[in-house]
Amino acid sequence: MSYKIVAENCTACGACEFECPNSAIKMKGDVFIIDPNSCTECDGQFDEPQCAAICPMPDTCIPA
């Protein structure tokens, strides 16, 4: 149960990094990646996964 970031869409704005309540998102190279071990899909924390809710690019933060 985890989200992932579609690298080719990522603008590397970093909004997901600081919205993530689990510190699961880090910069790797030019884009951000989600650590599947830390990601909870925000279940029980928020109504929707925060990375997907803030991401400016459609279909970029999606279920892995």
Binding site: T11, A12, C13, A15, F18, A53, I54, P56, M57
Partner: protein
Amino acid sequence: MSQLIHIQPLESKGGIPSPRPQTEGCASSACGKMSDAHGLADDIWEKVKDHPCYSEEAHQYFARMHVAVAPACNIQCNYCNRKYDCANESRPGVVSERLTPEQALRKVIAVANEVSQLSVLGIAGPGDACYDWEKTKETFEEVAKVIPDVKFCLSTNGLALADCIDDIAKMNIDHVTLTINMVDPEIGAKIYPWIFFNNKRWTGIEASRILHERQMLALELLKERGILTKVNSVMIPDINDTHLLEVNRVVKEKGAFLHNIMPLISDPAHGTHFGLTGQREPSHQELMALQNQLADGTKLMRHCRQCRADAIGLLGEDRGQAFSMDKIPETLEYNPANRASYREIVAQERGEHLQQKKSAERKLAELEAKPTILAAVVSKQGGRINQHFGHAQEFQIYEVSPYGVKFISHRKIPLYCAEGNGDDQRLDNIITALEGIQAVLCARIGDCPREKLEKAGIEVNVAYAHDWIESGLSSWYAARFSKENRRIA
């Protein structure tokens, strides 16, 4: 000659010689009451006089730089595409490289050492400066330690401003620009597909209702703290164009100091929603008509160049690419000498400029009732008619009448002279951009473009080359219309 007139960044201690003998009495900005001269209260003038974006007069002398440290944004606008970045593209939200606060500090020092006109450091994204607050804040804090006299400003959509208002006030950020495109959520829904607020993505009218309420709150908080606020509005034909009259009324009432109407940029190549759906941009004429409707009783900014989130230099230019991070050394020290001596020169130039403006006004006031006309000036800045027509990338449009000389807007044009040759296609585009303009005043012009302009019914005049803009325009106007008088008589 142009060296004399254009206030170049200082390369030597000698500065620039005065282009003409000093007029009697006034050699510094201490002359006269500034509040009279600029139509602003003294305390406001003190805040804006060196800020190129807030003062039409200051933009002729001072430069700004934006550092792109805040890439994250909390709303989506239909005129923005965050993926798109092109080094030739000039519009807000666009950058070529994003910086960490530490890199930003090095860049600011490098620019301050080279660009003596630098007076303002702004953070305008490319996302939202208040939403991406930690990076914005760290950047300002680091720069303030090294260059304490640079002014700070930031630009935001206002949604997150309330969260950082205490920091803003504490850090002496005394200029904030809010982009407000509507005061009616129904209209907002056509501009903003979504916002992110309180850990939730909101869409539709609800999103715009929240954004509107937060923007109004932002205006109130800024007013309460005495922070000078400019409102930017993007004019979108058939969506918010007529509504901007209402926006103007509301933001003025809530204490905004300046209102800046910017035309929508919707080139399909940018891949924005508006670009892809064929939403058209307003014409020069439509923009001017709207600005004229708003001109009564409010300060309207007309000299905005819609610059990039990493722009560097005077408003008409962008030297950002000359200062990319790969050109900036790892360690460097700030040298305040250039900026200090430039300020002395500006103080002197300003004094003279003010005198010239006043005598231009007197000259015009003596004329009997005469038409109000629009004229285009070609200027490399510094407030003078000092550029070759073929080198111009914009016209500065002025309204001239017996009531005075008033700056109206700038119009971007393609460079006529490229690689030493004029280009006919570009000249046609330039003539199109001169719609409604009676005359062009420039420092020099080739015979060929002169003939074509005259054929198109546009008068060309180089008699006031290197003169102050107001003085040149008023002399031209007085001569032009008294000549007509004689002919009639």
